[in-house]
Symmetry: C2
Subunit: 443 residues, 2 copies
Amino acid sequence: MKPGRIRYGMTAECRETREIMKVELICVGTELLLGSIVNTNAAYLSEKCAGLGFSCYFQTVVGDNEERLTQVLEMALGRADIVILSGGLGPTEDDLTKETAAKVCGKPLQLHEPSREAIRKYFADRGMEPTDNNWKQAMLPEGCIVLENHNGTAPGVIMETERGSVILLPGPPNELRPMFEESVAPYLAGLTSQVICSRTVKICGVGESRAETMVKDLIDVQDNPTIATYAKTGEVHIRVTANAEDKKAAQKLIKPVVKELKNRFGSHIYSTEEETTLEKAVADLAIANGLTITCAESCTGGLLSARLINVPGISEVYKSGVITYSNKAKRKLLGVKKSTLQKHGAVSERTAEEMAKGAASISKADVAVAITGIAGPDGGTEDKPVGLVYIACCVKGRTTVKKHLFSGSRDKVRDSAVSAALGLMRSCILEYYSKVTFGKEES
Amino acid sequence: MKPGRIRYGMTAECRETREIMKVELICVGTELLLGSIVNTNAAYLSEKCAGLGFSCYFQTVVGDNEERLTQVLEMALGRADIVILSGGLGPTEDDLTKETAAKVCGKPLQLHEPSREAIRKYFADRGMEPTDNNWKQAMLPEGCIVLENHNGTAPGVIMETERGSVILLPGPPNELRPMFEESVAPYLAGLTSQVICSRTVKICGVGESRAETMVKDLIDVQDNPTIATYAKTGEVHIRVTANAEDKKAAQKLIKPVVKELKNRFGSHIYSTEEETTLEKAVADLAIANGLTITCAESCTGGLLSARLINVPGISEVYKSGVITYSNKAKRKLLGVKKSTLQKHGAVSERTAEEMAKGAASISKADVAVAITGIAGPDGGTEDKPVGLVYIACCVKGRTTVKKHLFSGSRDKVRDSAVSAALGLMRSCILEYYSKVTFGKEES
């Protein structure tokens, strides 16, 4: 074990050496240094490595420059067990990550026939001819582990050296992510005896500060698993994370904490599954109850429908929706009364209600949700400020209207309104089936 | 001048020393190392610094740890003129960026009365009481320049030392960005005699590789300004960037290159303004010609409307839209013929055409655009694969239909379809007014 590794859990009773291995990230690319693109690879790789039980103490961004990349890689090898580099594996002369890393590791580049063949096939499948540059991508460090790229021409590389493992991944996220899942995650999992598991409890309809207050006592006394709250637009996620020697032991630590959170937040929890979004939870609820849904949107201009339609399989329950931006459209497409618009205005409880009822009646959908509000930056008054949004939901004739005052930019107000509308759809469907009553805390 | 700085332009004729100063970024925060948040501050600060004429060779992310932060800061001070740190200025014990940086710079912390008063006022305005921790934020390094924070309680700090300037900024983007604009940008501008200006030529309807081929000769011979192409979904941006001693001189270098690009790409250029998006260009064109617009969307489920409605002032021309996901909705809301759906299917040239015509006729809009396609991941067949999208645009009775085959995920296909629809709206409006003919290159 190199001195940089941290040991822990080394009590007299614990005979097995457990160690947390350190991974360090180096993202290569001038476009990152110029701020032309945001470094989503670093967030992705960090999150995945943390999930596999690795610690990451440093991330570095450096340009396509041999001298500076060498400097950064040498330093990373001095303080981490595994160094993951992303970017700079392309076919052009600027791309020098592989050449530089191979030199630092003392591995000469050799032609790798299967990669050459894969590149030939990649171009042939697309009816294209590779350029001379492309063959450069088949030159790989001697003795390396080759990671197949199913989404591009640059293979990934793992070099195992006495100073640690060096992993090279392509920069485009649609190549890097599948390669990480398929090849790097299993490789890393084989290096460590320690796993970190986490489960996320996803909550809607409870504000961030209230959610924090509700779990503060748990956070204060818990060490393993740890509990952390994350505020999302219109949602709060609580992540419960445990270290253990295997997945089963970690899940055993997590289970009672998730149970306690379910006791405290009750029906406000819409999912504890990683891949379930709020819109998926709503869609699943509608599908399970055989309810068709429709949306009538004003200030959100189609965003709510677009989020719902993002759920595969939604076509079973979502048939149509309307965007009624003008007063005339609200009258014509939804049957909102002229007198309502004149007396209460387009942004009012009454208009929202008539929009939802009209949408339900015209589309014959079981659940109709309507949004009308002032997204800004202009259009606000003292009585009706920017951020004022009314959301109505009609479930089989029973209509609920909620008033919100959201803060932030036009985009933020619209995103908040969409999340609130999804939350309202969910609570109205549950209430209709008398499964729960919202508006009070669950015990 | 320290040895790390790069000199250039030092010919016998050039008496003025021009130098590019180096800035280095250090983003502090465990949540970045865990991948819980994406490092948008790094992209923002890099882009701003590049725009001010500074070079950035390294960005580092490190956690809230005194030893590791000291190590990173010492290294940055050894290779850059200015080090910008973001994050870790909060009131809790975990936040130690200021304490660590002050120690590295040899500046003791002192109570800064105006900051103490600002913190008192910040809480009083919100009817809240500061906690004991909050006063920590008024302890600032001796002799520093204090940067006011109008959006939070942590003041920013500039420490000028013999080894370079160290700038501390709060981590939340809504505090960091205004502070950078108000205080840091003017400070940095005063340090350098060099400016970098750029102009972006935004193109739609021309593929990335064709655009690259069309400007390759320019890229090869240009040094100042430089020319770089960036592929966006459905668009290509060409950025022309010049160094000069002042803004005027830089713009003078840029102008003839932009003119040449206009010659080559003609009407495919929709804007050369930084803040103009494709949807804004389409909205502006509709407003300028007094044309109302409507959208009928199937596979994009409201995304096109949502993008259009994101343009402030759109309510002048956009009144309503529909999402017709099911065949029944296409018939009922748009009048698509049953026989068309039966004979050609929902994803066909004919259905797209009838959707656009129906939307125009029912909404009475001057411009109606319709999208129907297969976004995937399921639903594709050999004849009609995932990614097949038909887009129709009807301008005052004249309808054009385009067939596309997009690649990538469900999200990618939908985004590509929305961009293509905006491009089609633009070209159809221009063609209607016989301003240009698309489909051939402009000269």
